[in-house]
Protein backbone atom coordinates (compact mmCIF):
# COMPACT_ATOMS: atom_id res chain seq x y z
CA UNK A 1 0.00 0.00 0.00
CA UNK A 2 1.44 3.40 -0.94
CA UNK A 3 1.94 6.05 1.75
CA UNK A 4 -0.59 8.34 0.11
CA UNK A 5 -3.30 5.71 -0.02
CA UNK A 6 -2.84 5.06 3.72
CA UNK A 7 -3.79 8.69 4.32
CA UNK A 8 -6.61 8.93 1.77
CA UNK A 9 -8.33 5.68 2.72
CA UNK A 10 -9.14 7.23 6.10
CA UNK A 11 -10.82 10.17 4.41
CA UNK A 12 -12.97 8.38 1.83
CA UNK A 13 -12.81 4.60 1.51
CA UNK A 14 -12.72 3.85 5.23
CA UNK A 15 -14.04 7.11 6.63
CA UNK A 16 -14.40 6.31 10.34
CA UNK A 17 -17.78 8.02 10.76
CA UNK A 18 -19.53 7.62 7.44
CA UNK A 19 -18.28 4.17 6.48
CA UNK A 20 -16.89 2.36 9.54
CA UNK A 21 -19.50 3.93 11.85
CA UNK A 22 -17.05 4.21 14.72
CA UNK A 23 -17.02 6.94 17.35
CA UNK A 24 -20.67 7.84 16.88
CA UNK A 25 -21.03 9.07 20.47
CA UNK A 26 -18.71 12.11 20.24
CA UNK A 27 -19.95 12.67 16.69
CA UNK A 28 -23.56 13.09 17.74
CA UNK A 29 -22.68 14.89 20.95
CA UNK A 30 -20.27 17.56 19.78
CA UNK A 31 -21.55 18.58 16.34
CA UNK A 32 -24.00 21.26 17.45
CA UNK A 33 -21.93 23.75 15.47
CA UNK A 34 -19.31 23.54 12.73
CA UNK A 35 -16.58 25.02 14.94
CA UNK A 36 -17.24 22.53 17.74
CA UNK A 37 -17.12 19.64 15.28
CA UNK A 38 -13.91 20.86 13.72
CA UNK A 39 -12.20 21.47 17.07
CA UNK A 40 -13.19 18.03 18.32
CA UNK A 41 -11.95 16.50 15.07
CA UNK A 42 -8.56 18.23 15.23
CA UNK A 43 -8.03 17.36 18.90
CA UNK A 44 -8.86 13.74 18.10
CA UNK A 45 -6.47 13.82 15.13
CA UNK A 46 -3.61 14.96 17.37
CA UNK A 47 -4.33 12.15 19.84
CA UNK A 48 -4.74 9.59 17.05
CA UNK A 49 -1.38 10.37 15.45
CA UNK A 50 0.48 10.34 18.79
CA UNK A 51 -1.16 7.21 20.16
CA UNK A 52 -0.91 5.31 16.86
CA UNK A 53 2.82 5.99 16.53
CA UNK A 54 3.54 5.20 20.16
CA UNK A 55 1.49 2.02 20.17
CA UNK A 56 3.16 0.72 17.02
CA UNK A 57 6.48 1.23 18.83
CA UNK A 58 5.54 -0.70 21.96
CA UNK A 59 3.11 -3.28 20.50
CA UNK A 60 5.87 -5.89 20.24
CA UNK A 61 6.53 -5.84 23.97
CA UNK A 62 2.95 -6.14 25.18
CA UNK A 63 1.51 -9.57 26.07
CA UNK A 64 -1.68 -10.20 24.05
CA UNK A 65 -3.97 -10.51 27.07
CA UNK A 66 -3.21 -7.04 28.51
CA UNK A 67 -3.22 -5.32 25.13
CA UNK A 68 -6.47 -3.37 25.56
CA UNK A 69 -5.75 -1.99 29.07
CA UNK A 70 -2.24 -1.01 27.95
CA UNK A 71 -3.56 0.84 24.90
CA UNK A 72 -6.20 2.63 26.96
CA UNK A 73 -3.61 3.85 29.46
CA UNK A 74 -1.46 5.17 26.60
CA UNK A 75 -4.44 6.89 24.94
CA UNK A 76 -5.69 8.37 28.21
CA UNK A 77 -2.21 9.75 28.94
CA UNK A 78 -2.03 11.46 25.54
CA UNK A 79 -5.54 12.89 25.90
CA UNK A 80 -4.70 14.34 29.30
CA UNK A 81 -1.52 15.89 27.89
CA UNK A 82 -3.50 17.49 25.05
CA UNK A 83 -5.98 18.78 27.64
CA UNK A 84 -3.26 20.30 29.87
CA UNK A 85 -1.51 21.96 26.96
CA UNK A 86 -4.73 23.35 25.54
CA UNK A 87 -5.77 24.66 28.95
CA UNK A 88 -2.40 26.34 29.47
CA UNK A 89 -1.66 27.86 26.09
CA UNK A 90 -5.02 28.05 24.30
CA UNK A 91 -7.52 29.01 27.03
CA UNK A 92 -10.10 30.38 24.59
CA UNK A 93 -10.19 27.15 22.58
CA UNK A 94 -10.30 25.21 25.83
CA UNK A 95 -13.33 27.21 26.92
CA UNK A 96 -15.33 25.88 23.96
CA UNK A 97 -13.86 22.38 23.73
CA UNK A 98 -12.79 21.59 27.29
CA UNK A 99 -16.00 19.71 27.86
CA UNK A 100 -15.33 17.24 25.06
CA UNK A 101 -11.63 16.53 25.43
CA UNK A 102 -11.97 13.73 28.00
CA UNK A 103 -14.46 12.09 25.61
CA UNK A 104 -11.63 11.33 23.20
CA UNK A 105 -10.42 8.57 25.56
CA UNK A 106 -13.57 6.56 24.97
CA UNK A 107 -13.63 7.26 21.24
CA UNK A 108 -13.73 3.88 19.51
CA UNK A 109 -11.73 5.18 16.57
CA UNK A 110 -8.61 5.74 18.66
CA UNK A 111 -8.68 2.31 20.28
CA UNK A 112 -9.91 0.74 17.03
CA UNK A 113 -6.98 2.06 15.00
CA UNK A 114 -4.52 1.08 17.73
CA UNK A 115 -5.83 -2.47 17.63
CA UNK A 116 -6.52 -2.86 13.90
CA UNK A 117 -3.64 -0.92 12.36
CA UNK A 118 -0.96 0.46 14.68
CA UNK A 119 -0.22 -2.81 16.45
CA UNK A 120 0.54 -4.50 13.10
CA UNK A 121 2.34 -1.75 11.16
CA UNK A 122 5.48 0.34 11.47
CA UNK A 123 5.68 3.76 13.12
CA UNK A 124 5.52 5.90 9.96
CA UNK A 125 2.55 4.03 8.45
CA UNK A 126 0.74 4.15 11.79
CA UNK A 127 1.27 7.90 12.03
CA UNK A 128 -0.06 8.37 8.48
CA UNK A 129 -3.02 6.14 9.26
CA UNK A 130 -3.73 8.31 12.33
CA UNK A 131 -3.50 11.44 10.18
CA UNK A 132 -5.84 10.05 7.51
CA UNK A 133 -8.40 8.72 9.98
CA UNK A 134 -8.21 11.95 11.95
CA UNK A 135 -8.79 14.07 8.85
CA UNK A 136 -11.68 11.85 7.79
CA UNK A 137 -13.18 12.23 11.25
CA UNK A 138 -12.63 16.00 11.19
CA UNK A 139 -14.24 16.41 7.74
CA UNK A 140 -17.27 14.32 8.71
CA UNK A 141 -17.70 16.22 11.97
CA UNK A 142 -17.31 19.63 10.35
CA UNK A 143 -19.84 18.84 7.61
CA UNK A 144 -22.31 17.38 10.10
CA UNK A 145 -21.78 20.35 12.44
CA UNK A 146 -22.25 22.79 9.57
CA UNK A 147 -25.49 21.16 8.41
CA UNK A 148 -26.88 21.13 11.95
CA UNK A 149 -25.76 24.70 12.60
CA UNK A 150 -27.32 26.03 9.38
CA UNK A 151 -30.62 24.23 9.93
CA UNK A 152 -30.72 24.50 13.72
CA UNK A 153 -29.44 27.99 14.51
CA UNK A 154 -29.40 29.70 11.12
CA UNK A 155 -25.68 30.39 11.23
CA UNK A 156 -22.47 29.02 9.73
CA UNK A 157 -19.17 28.90 11.66
CA UNK A 158 -20.74 31.24 14.23
CA UNK A 159 -21.89 33.87 11.71
CA UNK A 160 -25.60 34.30 11.93
CA UNK A 161 -27.44 34.84 8.65
CA UNK A 162 -31.03 34.20 9.75
CA UNK A 163 -32.71 35.94 12.65
CA UNK A 164 -34.52 33.75 15.13
CA UNK A 165 -34.09 30.18 16.17
CA UNK A 166 -34.04 27.91 13.12
CA UNK A 167 -35.29 24.33 13.24
CA UNK A 168 -34.54 23.59 16.87
CA UNK A 169 -34.63 19.80 16.53
CA UNK A 170 -31.35 19.87 14.60
CA UNK A 171 -29.52 21.26 17.59
CA UNK A 172 -30.99 18.53 19.79
CA UNK A 173 -29.95 14.86 19.78
CA UNK A 174 -32.65 13.55 17.36
CA UNK A 175 -31.54 16.10 14.75
CA UNK A 176 -28.01 14.71 14.98
CA UNK A 177 -29.26 11.24 14.02
CA UNK A 178 -31.39 12.60 11.16
CA UNK A 179 -28.59 14.75 9.74
CA UNK A 180 -25.97 11.99 10.12
CA UNK A 181 -28.21 9.47 8.36
CA UNK A 182 -28.79 11.74 5.35
CA UNK A 183 -25.12 12.68 5.08
CA UNK A 184 -24.23 8.99 5.22
CA UNK A 185 -26.64 8.15 2.40
CA UNK A 186 -25.27 10.90 0.18
CA UNK A 187 -21.66 10.06 1.00
CA UNK A 188 -22.02 6.37 0.22
CA UNK A 189 -23.83 7.13 -3.03
CA UNK A 190 -20.94 9.40 -4.02
CA UNK A 191 -18.42 6.83 -2.88
CA UNK A 192 -19.94 3.97 -4.91
CA UNK A 193 -20.00 6.20 -7.98
CA UNK A 194 -16.29 6.96 -7.92
CA UNK A 195 -15.08 3.45 -7.10
Amino acid sequence: MSKLSIVTKGIIKENPILVLLLGTCPTLGTTTSAINGMGMGLATTAVLILSNMFISMIAGYIPAKVRIPSYIVVIAAFVTIVQFIMQAYMPSLYATLGLFIPLIVVNCIVLGRAEAFASKNNVLDSGLDGLGMGLGFTCALTVLGLVREILGSGSAFGHKFIDGDGILIFVLAPGAFIALAYIMVLFNKFKSKIS
Binding site: T30, T32, S33, N36, I58, A59, G60, Y61, I62, P63, A64, K65, V66, R67, P69, S70, V73, V74, A76, A77, T80, I81, F84, I85, Q87, A88, Y89, P91, L99, R148, E149, G152, S153, D165, L168, V171, L172
Partner: protein, 196 residues
Protein backbone atom coordinates in the same frame (compact mmCIF):
# COMPACT_ATOMS: atom_id res chain seq x y z
CA UNK B 1 6.17 -10.97 18.12
CA UNK B 2 4.14 -10.26 21.25
CA UNK B 3 5.37 -11.60 24.56
CA UNK B 4 3.76 -14.65 26.16
CA UNK B 5 0.77 -13.79 28.38
CA UNK B 6 1.97 -15.26 31.65
CA UNK B 7 1.39 -13.60 35.02
CA UNK B 8 4.86 -12.16 35.33
CA UNK B 9 4.91 -10.61 31.86
CA UNK B 10 1.44 -9.11 32.17
CA UNK B 11 2.06 -7.59 35.60
CA UNK B 12 5.39 -6.20 34.57
CA UNK B 13 4.01 -4.77 31.33
CA UNK B 14 1.07 -3.02 33.03
CA UNK B 15 3.37 -1.71 35.75
CA UNK B 16 5.84 -0.23 33.29
CA UNK B 17 3.16 1.36 31.13
CA UNK B 18 1.23 2.84 34.07
CA UNK B 19 4.46 4.06 35.66
CA UNK B 20 5.68 5.69 32.45
CA UNK B 21 2.28 7.27 31.81
CA UNK B 22 2.05 8.73 35.34
CA UNK B 23 5.64 9.99 35.15
CA UNK B 24 4.97 11.69 31.84
CA UNK B 25 1.73 13.19 33.12
CA UNK B 26 3.37 14.58 36.25
CA UNK B 27 6.03 16.26 34.13
CA UNK B 28 3.43 17.84 31.85
CA UNK B 29 1.35 18.82 34.89
CA UNK B 30 4.28 20.65 36.49
CA UNK B 31 5.15 22.42 33.24
CA UNK B 32 1.60 23.55 32.52
CA UNK B 33 0.57 24.31 36.12
CA UNK B 34 1.68 27.95 36.13
CA UNK B 35 0.36 28.86 32.68
CA UNK B 36 -3.00 27.29 33.58
CA UNK B 37 -3.15 29.30 36.80
CA UNK B 38 -2.19 32.46 34.92
CA UNK B 39 -4.89 31.79 32.35
CA UNK B 40 -7.47 31.29 35.10
CA UNK B 41 -6.44 34.50 36.90
CA UNK B 42 -6.56 36.42 33.62
CA UNK B 43 -10.02 35.02 33.00
CA UNK B 44 -11.22 36.03 36.49
CA UNK B 45 -9.76 39.52 36.05
CA UNK B 46 -11.40 40.01 32.69
CA UNK B 47 -14.78 38.85 34.05
CA UNK B 48 -14.42 41.29 36.95
CA UNK B 49 -13.66 44.13 34.57
CA UNK B 50 -16.81 43.31 32.59
CA UNK B 51 -19.25 43.11 35.48
CA UNK B 52 -18.51 46.17 37.64
CA UNK B 53 -18.30 49.92 36.91
CA UNK B 54 -14.89 51.40 36.18
CA UNK B 55 -12.41 50.97 39.04
CA UNK B 56 -8.79 51.84 39.83
CA UNK B 57 -7.87 49.17 42.38
CA UNK B 58 -6.91 45.52 41.89
CA UNK B 59 -10.04 43.57 42.82
CA UNK B 60 -8.42 40.15 42.51
CA UNK B 61 -5.87 41.09 45.19
CA UNK B 62 -8.49 42.53 47.55
CA UNK B 63 -10.77 39.53 47.37
CA UNK B 64 -12.62 38.59 50.53
CA UNK B 65 -15.18 35.92 51.28
CA UNK B 66 -18.60 36.10 52.85
CA UNK B 67 -20.50 33.23 54.32
CA UNK B 68 -23.93 32.65 52.80
CA UNK B 69 -25.96 29.73 54.11
CA UNK B 70 -22.80 27.85 55.12
CA UNK B 71 -21.03 28.45 51.80
CA UNK B 72 -17.98 30.67 51.29
CA UNK B 73 -18.54 33.08 48.41
CA UNK B 74 -15.70 35.02 46.75
CA UNK B 75 -16.27 38.76 46.52
CA UNK B 76 -14.07 41.18 44.54
CA UNK B 77 -14.63 44.82 45.54
CA UNK B 78 -14.26 47.53 42.89
CA UNK B 79 -12.96 50.84 44.26
CA UNK B 80 -12.52 54.13 42.44
CA UNK B 81 -10.92 57.20 44.11
CA UNK B 82 -11.17 55.47 47.48
CA UNK B 83 -14.90 54.85 47.17
CA UNK B 84 -16.44 51.45 46.65
CA UNK B 85 -18.32 51.54 43.37
CA UNK B 86 -19.43 47.94 43.20
CA UNK B 87 -18.84 44.29 43.98
CA UNK B 88 -18.11 41.41 41.64
CA UNK B 89 -19.46 38.26 43.23
CA UNK B 90 -18.46 34.81 42.06
CA UNK B 91 -21.55 32.73 42.44
CA UNK B 92 -22.64 29.29 41.39
CA UNK B 93 -25.70 27.13 41.06
CA UNK B 94 -25.92 23.36 41.09
CA UNK B 95 -29.27 23.37 39.34
CA UNK B 96 -27.82 23.50 35.82
CA UNK B 97 -28.75 20.89 33.22
CA UNK B 98 -25.15 19.69 33.14
CA UNK B 99 -24.28 20.27 36.79
CA UNK B 100 -22.47 23.20 38.30
CA UNK B 101 -22.64 26.63 36.67
CA UNK B 102 -20.33 29.40 37.90
CA UNK B 103 -20.96 33.02 37.00
CA UNK B 104 -19.65 36.42 38.02
CA UNK B 105 -22.35 38.89 38.99
CA UNK B 106 -21.50 42.55 39.40
CA UNK B 107 -23.56 44.80 41.66
CA UNK B 108 -23.28 48.53 41.72
CA UNK B 109 -23.28 50.18 45.12
CA UNK B 110 -27.08 50.67 45.11
CA UNK B 111 -27.78 46.94 44.76
CA UNK B 112 -28.67 46.92 41.09
CA UNK B 113 -27.12 44.27 38.85
CA UNK B 114 -24.49 46.00 36.78
CA UNK B 115 -23.51 43.13 34.52
CA UNK B 116 -22.96 39.37 34.52
CA UNK B 117 -20.42 37.04 32.99
CA UNK B 118 -20.21 33.26 32.74
CA UNK B 119 -17.05 31.69 34.18
CA UNK B 120 -17.73 28.00 33.68
CA UNK B 121 -20.66 25.77 32.93
CA UNK B 122 -21.48 22.35 31.54
CA UNK B 123 -24.72 23.17 29.72
CA UNK B 124 -25.68 21.62 26.38
CA UNK B 125 -23.67 23.18 23.54
CA UNK B 126 -26.03 24.98 21.18
CA UNK B 127 -28.84 25.20 23.72
CA UNK B 128 -28.04 25.88 27.35
CA UNK B 129 -24.74 27.52 26.52
CA UNK B 130 -26.70 30.53 25.30
CA UNK B 131 -26.38 31.82 28.87
CA UNK B 132 -23.04 33.05 27.54
CA UNK B 133 -23.15 36.59 26.13
CA UNK B 134 -21.21 35.47 23.09
CA UNK B 135 -24.01 33.08 22.13
CA UNK B 136 -27.16 35.07 22.87
CA UNK B 137 -28.49 38.15 24.59
CA UNK B 138 -30.18 36.14 27.35
CA UNK B 139 -27.98 37.39 30.18
CA UNK B 140 -28.30 41.04 29.09
CA UNK B 141 -31.84 41.27 30.44
CA UNK B 142 -30.47 41.03 33.99
CA UNK B 143 -28.48 44.24 33.63
CA UNK B 144 -29.92 47.11 35.63
CA UNK B 145 -32.39 44.91 37.52
CA UNK B 146 -32.73 45.32 41.24
CA UNK B 147 -33.30 41.89 42.82
CA UNK B 148 -34.90 43.62 45.83
CA UNK B 149 -37.86 44.74 43.70
CA UNK B 150 -37.71 42.59 40.57
CA UNK B 151 -38.65 38.94 40.52
CA UNK B 152 -35.57 37.09 39.24
CA UNK B 153 -37.11 33.91 37.89
CA UNK B 154 -38.24 32.72 34.48
CA UNK B 155 -41.67 33.75 33.18
CA UNK B 156 -42.88 30.14 33.37
CA UNK B 157 -42.38 30.36 37.15
CA UNK B 158 -44.10 33.74 37.34
CA UNK B 159 -40.96 35.87 37.18
CA UNK B 160 -39.68 38.53 34.82
CA UNK B 161 -36.96 36.67 32.92
CA UNK B 162 -37.42 35.45 29.36
CA UNK B 163 -36.00 31.93 29.39
CA UNK B 164 -33.81 30.62 26.57
CA UNK B 165 -35.96 28.62 24.14
CA UNK B 166 -35.75 24.91 25.02
CA UNK B 167 -33.37 25.62 27.90
CA UNK B 168 -35.64 26.46 30.80
CA UNK B 169 -33.47 24.48 33.22
CA UNK B 170 -30.30 26.35 32.26
CA UNK B 171 -32.20 29.64 32.50
CA UNK B 172 -33.52 28.72 35.95
CA UNK B 173 -30.01 27.80 37.10
CA UNK B 174 -28.71 31.17 35.88
CA UNK B 175 -31.46 32.96 37.87
CA UNK B 176 -30.58 30.80 40.85
CA UNK B 177 -26.90 31.77 40.61
CA UNK B 178 -27.84 35.45 40.35
CA UNK B 179 -30.02 35.14 43.45
CA UNK B 180 -27.18 33.40 45.30
CA UNK B 181 -24.94 36.32 44.39
CA UNK B 182 -27.57 38.75 45.63
CA UNK B 183 -27.74 36.88 48.94
CA UNK B 184 -23.99 37.41 49.26
CA UNK B 185 -24.42 41.10 48.39
CA UNK B 186 -27.04 41.51 51.13
CA UNK B 187 -24.65 39.83 53.54
CA UNK B 188 -21.92 42.35 52.66
CA UNK B 189 -24.30 45.25 53.20
CA UNK B 190 -25.38 43.81 56.55
CA UNK B 191 -21.78 43.51 57.71
CA UNK B 192 -21.09 47.04 56.52
CA UNK B 193 -23.97 48.50 58.49
CA UNK B 194 -22.88 46.57 61.60
CA UNK B 195 -19.40 48.05 61.30
CA UNK B 196 -20.57 51.61 61.01
Amino acid sequence: MAKESNFKNMTLCMFVICFAASALLSVVYVITKDPIEQANIAKTNSSIAIVVPEFDNRPSEEMFTVNVAGKEVNVYPAVKDGKTVGYAIESSSNKGFGGKMTIMVGFSEDGKIYNTSVISHAETPGLGDKIDKKKSGFSLQFNGMDPATADISVKKDGGEIDAITASTISSRAFCDAVLNAYAAFKEIKKEESCNE
